[in-house]
């Protein structure tokens, strides 16, 4: 049997442009703005999730292609490409300018920051969208960025499916979860919960980028700038649209510094039950990532009862990560409601 050793999560340091080159791909993918790394010839070396989502291009089809010629011909201008080339021969660590990206599905006003790396063999472009507009009329042929379908024509004949944002999508039935859990229980039974929580957390970070990108396109706002009700509805709708179930959020125990999440008809829980203990570790991790982002704090999410155990719905409690030590003994007693957690935490004080 194998235990899973996962590093403790820490609050990420505030983003600093001079650190971007040292960031891992996973860290770049958690950023809510676009990041592109080009070599001196304009070849795309790195391309993060937010940029792919907002440009509606598949990273796999973008990497190694020439950015100015193949991916964004609208940037093959003195004002953009010329500025990047001048940056390579200059000395300043940063440059910043505004530009209008032309896509066939719309124009995007952006602020571009160029970041130099010590070896000066590549440049990082940080792309912040500030305004979304309809496609501009009268552009020269081949000026606007190509659509994903033009980068990879006839891919649908090869079994490739895409969603509205042109991300490659894979339709799976819930037995995918069943098979995955059965595999883990066979090869590393004690590691399943930790693995699924970490997997959910990474997945949740990607979902946050998607939620933020959709909101940016629609309202030029961030999730933290939305009213609570609308933000919670958007999170729930995101999950429901993917067949995961329906979320409800319960803040009635705010005075105890905790709140609850209820998931009705969890696809995961139903797929991996029946079980004696909660099974939706994936959802725990997913919601940790979502609410870490919304609250800008490290939080802990724990499932109290699960449909895999025969309950009508899965119920989770959310608390500050700093209260984890106080929370764990309470959970070990098998409490099944957020109210019971609140009471036990109060009694323990």
């Amino acid at each position: 049997m194998t235990d899973l050793a996962l590093p403790a999560r820490v609050n990420p340091a505030p983003f600093s442009p001079d650190q971007v080159a040292a960031m891992s791909d996973a860290e770049l993918d958690a950023l809510p703005f676009g990041v592109i790394c080009l070599d001196r010839d304009g070849k795309v070396l790195r391309y993060n999730l937010a940029e792919a989502r907002l440009a509606r291009l598949d990273r796999a089809q973008v990497l190694s292609k020439n950015f100015f010629r193949r991916i964004a011909p609208c940037t093959a201008t003195p004002e953009f490409e010329g500025r990047v080339r001048a940056f390579f021969v200059g000395q300043q660590p940063l440059d910043r300018f505004e530009y209008l990206f032309d896509f066939k599905f719309g124009a995007q006003q952006v602020v571009v920051e160029l970041v130099r790396v010590p070896a000066n063999d590549r440049v990082y472009l940080l792309i912040n969208r500030t305004r979304f507009e309809p496609p501009r009329a009268g552009l020269p042929e081949g000026f606007a960025a190509p659509l994903q379908a033009e980068l990879a024509p006839q891919e649908s004949q090869l079994g490739v499916q895409r969603d509205a944002a042109q991300r490659r999508s894979v339709r799976l039935d819930a037995h995918f979860f069943t098979a995955l859990q059965q595999t883990w229980l066979k090869v590393a039974p004690r590691a399943w919960h930790g693995f699924s929580r970490e997997w959910g957390w990474q997945w949740g970070r990607h979902a946050v980028v998607d939620l933020e990108a959709a909101l940016l396109e629609e309202k030029t706002l961030t999730l933290r700038e939305l009213p609570m009700r609308e933000a919670m509805e958007r999170v729930s709708a995101w999950a429901s649209a993917r067949g995961l179930g329906t979320f409800r959020f319960d803040f009635t125990h705010a005075r105890d510094g905790i709140f609850g999440i209820e998931l009705a008809r969890s696809a995961l829980g139903e797929a991996v039950g029946p079980a004696d203990t909660p099974r939706c570790g994936l959802i725990e991790g997913f919601m940790e990532a979502v609410f870490d982002h919304l609250s800008q704090r490290l939080l802990v999410v724990r499932e109290l009862r699960c449909c895999a155990q025969g309950f009508d719905a899965c119920v989770f409690v959310v608390a500050s990560e700093k209260r984890k030590a106080a929370l764990e003994p309470v959970l070990a007693k098998g409490v099944e409601s957020v109210a019971a957690v609140a009471e036990a935490l109060r009694a323990a004080r």
């Binding site: 933290r224 009213p227 609570m228 959020f249 125990h253 705010a254």
Partner: protein, 48 residues
């Protein structure tokens, strides 16, 4: 001053169009609050 007992409904009621995510979570009592210090008014003031 708001009565203490309907606090739960106050907290639920805050989930409306008035309170932004950043304000709600910035004011959220993440650390345990002694009962005597906890009032709906304090939470509302923190949100303002």
């Amino acid at each position: 001053m708001l009565p203490a007992e309907p606090l739960r409904s106050v907290c639920v009621g805050l989930l409306d169009e008035r309170v932004l995510v950043q304000d709600y979570f910035d004011a959220f009592p993440w650390e345990p609050v002694p009962d005597a210090d906890w009032t709906a008014e304090a939470f509302l003031q923190a949100l303002e």
